[in-house]
Amino acid sequence: MTLTMSLSQDIKQVRKSKEILLMTHLVLGYPSFGINRQVITQMVDQGVDIIELQIPFSEPIADGPVILKANHEAINHGVRVGQCLEFAAEMAAQHQIPLLLMTYYNILFRYGVEDFLEQTKENSIRGLIIPDLPPEEGGQYLAACRRLELAPIQIFAPTSGKARMATLAAHGAGFIYCVARRGVTGSPTSFDENFNDYIKRCRQATALPLAVGFGISNRQDVDLLRGKADIAVIGSATIRLVDQQGPEAVGPFIAGLR
C-alpha cells in the first residue's frame, strides 16, 4: 500500500486487488511492547492491511473481557501514554501499512486534544478510533483531524438510523467502522439476514469503505464478509491467541484468515 493519498483512497486502491482487507488490533504494552513488535511484524508479513493500536485506558467501556484485561494489565505494568505514542511512531516508521490509534477520549483530553493529534500526525499515524466520542462531543477533535489530515474514523451501529448514519458519515474519513452487533468486543456474531440488511443500510449511507468488526475470529467469518464489507476487523481474537499460544501463533493465524 502506498501512503500518498488519503486513507480512504489508499484503502480503495488496495481493495482493487483484494476482495477483502484485514484490519487487526492490539493493545499497546500488552503483554509487552516487545511482544507487540513481534506480533506486528508477523501481521504485516502475513499481509494485514491496517493495524489498530489501542492505547490502554482504565475505563474501556466499549470493550469486552479480553481487551479489558489487556488494558488493565498494561496499565498495571506501568505503560504510559507517552510510551505508546513513541512506540506507534517506531512502528509507523518500520512498517508500510496504515496504522491507526484506538483509545478512549480521556487519553486525548488529558494530553490536550490538539497536542495529541499533532503528535499522532507527526508519528505518521493515519487516523483514530475513539469509541466514546460521538461527533456531538468531538467538535475540537474533528476540526483538528481535518486540519491535520488525520482520519477520525466514525462508527456505525445496527441501532444507527438513516439520518444518524448520514451525520456520522459526514464527519467521518478513512472508512466507517461498522459494529456488527449489539454488545462489546470479543464474543461471536451471527451474520444473518439482519446483518445483511444492516450492511446494506451502511453502504447506502456512505461512499467510504466499510470495515466490519466485533466477533470476527476465523476464515469463515471473513469469507462471509466478502462482497459485503471492504475490511474485516480482527479484534480480541489475536489477543486471545497471544495469551494462549504466544506471539508465534499470530502469523499462521493471519495467514489462514484469507
Binding site: 485506558f57 482504565s58 475505563e59 467501556i61 479489558l68 501514554v81 477520549y105 466514546d132 449489539r182 462489546v184
Partner: protein, 416 residues
C-alpha cells in the same frame, strides 16, 4: 445549560454509537414525562404510599444544645423504604421504564444501597434485574447481596479493574450495549451521560422540595446552611435544589477524606486538589486520575462515597461558588457517627455521617436563631459489618467467629 446535557463546562454524553439511539429515546421519554402533568404527582403518590415520603425533618435538640449554635435539623432520608435516598431516584426511573415498555433493568452498586433499591423497584414493577457490583464490594457488603438475591435480582461480581464501583459502572454499560432493546440502565447517581444527571436530579429534588416546605413551617424562615455528603452527588443535588435560588442559604458538600487528603487515600474530588477535569464513564467532570488520564484507586470507610467522579451539576455549582466543598476523614466520621447515635438515637449511614462531621465543625459559629439542615441520606444499620469493624467491637467479633465455626461444623457434617 450552555449546550445540551452540559452544566457550564461539565457533563455531556460520551457514549458509544451503539447506545446513541437508546439515549435519544431515553431523553425523549424523560422530556415527555416531565411535560406530562400526571407524571410528577404519580411519582409523589408512589413515594408516599410505597416509601414514607415526605420523610420527616427532625429537630436534633440534644446535638443543637451540645454545640450551642444554630438549631440542627436532620432530613431523614434514612426512613425511606430500603433505607436511603436512593429509593427516590430508583422508583422514579421505574415509572419511566414502565412508560418506555422495557422489561429489564440493570444497575451498578457500590455500597449495595442502590442495588437493593433497584432490586426492590424491579420486584415491585415486575422487571428482570441484574446488578453489577465490584467483587471487593460483594465481599464487603454481603448482607445487601443477600437481599438483592432474595428480591429476585442476579448479582454479578465484577472482577476487573479495582473491583469496585467504577468497574461495576463499566460492566453495566457493557451489559447495556448488548441488551438495550429491552433493558434500562438505572444509573444510581447524578453522574453518567446526559440525561442521567438531569433525570436523577429531577427525581431527587423531592428531598429539597420537602425540606424547604418543612423548614419554613417549623423554623419560620430559611436555614443558614445545608450539609450533604457527596459520593456521586445525588442526595446533595436533591436537597440543594430546594434552596438554589435562595442565595442566603449556604450549600456545603462533604466528600470522603478517607485517611486524610495528604495520604492520597481518599475520594475528595472538589475538596483538596487531587482531581482534574476528565472524561470517563460517559461524562465530563473532575476525576481522581493520573497525568495520563488513568483513574486512580480511591478510599473511604463509606463504600457509597468511594468513587472517582462527581456530578457535573455540582462541579458547575462549585465553579460558580454556589456550593462549597470540604472533606471528612474516616476517623472524624466514626466520631460524628458515635456522637449522633448517642445524642439523638439516630444512626446515620457512614456516607451521611460525613455531612454531620462538617456541620458539627461549624454549627457552633452560628447564632441560635439560625438553623442548619443536615441531609441524612441513609441509615447506618446496613453498615453493621463496617461499623463494627471500625469500632473493633470485641463481642461482635466473637459472635461472628462463633457463627462462622457453627457454619463450618454444619458444612463438615453435611460432607460426612
Amino acid at each position: 445549560m450552555s449546550k445540551t446535557g452540559y452544566y457550564g463546562n461539565w457533563g455531556g454524553a460520551f457514549v458509544p454509537e451503539i447506545l446513541h439511539e437508546t439515549f435519544r429515546k431515553l431523553g425523549v421519554a424523560f422530556i415527555e414525562a416531565k411535560a406530562d402533568p400526571d407524571f410528577w404527582p404519580r411519582y409523589v403518590e408512589l413515594m408516599g404510599s410505597y416509601s414514607c415520603r415526605p420523610t420527616p425533618l427532625t429537630f436534633a435538640e440534644n446535638l443543637s444544645r451540645r454545640f450551642g449554635g444554630a438549631k440542627i435539623f436532620i432530613k431523614r432520608e434514612d426512613l425511606n423504604h430500603t433505607g436511603a435516598h436512593k429509593a427516590n431516584n430508583v422508583m422514579g426511573q421505574g415509572l419511566l421504564v414502565q412508560r418506555m415498555g422495557k422489561t429489564r433493568v440493570i444497575a451498578e452498586t457500590g455500597a449495595g444501597q442502590h442495588g437493593v433499591a433497584t432490586a426492590t423497584m424491579a420486584a415491585k414493577f415486575g422487571f428482570d434485574c441484574t446488578i453489577y457490583m465490584g467483587e471487593e464490594d460483594v465481599q464487603r457488603q454481603r448482607p445487601n447481596v443477600f437481599w438483592m438475591e432474595k428480591l429476585g435480582a442476579t448479582v454479578v461480581p465484577v472482577a476487573s479493574g479495582s473491583r469496585t464501583l467504577k468497574d461495576a459502572i463499566n460492566e453495566a454499560f457493557r451489559d447495556w450495549v448488548a441488551n438495550m432493546d429491552c433493558t434500562h440502565y438505572v444509573m444510581g447517581t447524578v453522574c453518567g451521560p446526559h440525561p442521567f444527571p438531569e433525570m436523577v436530579a429531577w427525581f431527587q429534588k423531592i428531598i429539597g422540595d420537602e425540606a424547604r416546605r418543612q423548614i419554613l413551617a417549623i423554623h419560620g424562615k430559611l436555614p443558614a446552611r445545608i450539609y450533604a455528603c457527596v459520593g456521586g452527588g445525588s442526595n446533595a443535588v436533591g436537597i440543594f435544589q430546594g434552596f438554589l435560588a435562595d442565595n442566603g442559604v449556604e450549600l456545603a458538600g462533604v466528600e470522603a477524606g478517607g485517611k486524610g487528603l495528604a495520604s492520597g487515600l481518599h475520594a475528595a474530588r472538589l475538596a483538596g486538589s487531587d482531581a482534574s477535569p476528565g472524561v470517563a464513564q460517559g461524562y465530563k467532570t473532575m476525576f481522581l486520575q493520573d497525568e495520563d488520564g488513568q483513574m486512580l484507586d480511591t478510599h473511604s470507610v463509606a463504600a457509597g462515597l468511594d468513587y472517582i467522579g462527581v456530578s457535573p451539576i455540582l462541579v458547575d455549582l462549585w465553579e460558580q461558588g454556589r456550593v462549597r466543598f470540604s472533606a471528612a476523614t474516616d476517623d472524624e466520621v466514626m466520631a460524628a457517627l458515635q456522637l449522633t447515635i448517642r445524642s439523638e438515637g439516630i444512626i446515620p449511614a457512614l456516607e451521611s455521617a460525613h455531612a454531620f462531621v462538617q456541620a458539627f465543625k461549624e454549627v457552633g459559629d452560628l447564632p441560635p436563631e439560625e438553623a442548619i439542615i443536615i441531609n441524612q441520606s441513609g441509615r447506618g444499620d446496613k453498615d453493621i459489618f463496617t461499623i463494627a469493624d471500625a469500632f473493633s467491637d470485641p463481642s461482635w467479633r466473637e459472635f461472628i467467629r462463633n457463627k462462622g465455626e457453627e457454619y463450618a461444623d454444619g458444612a463438615r457434617q453435611e460432607s460426612d
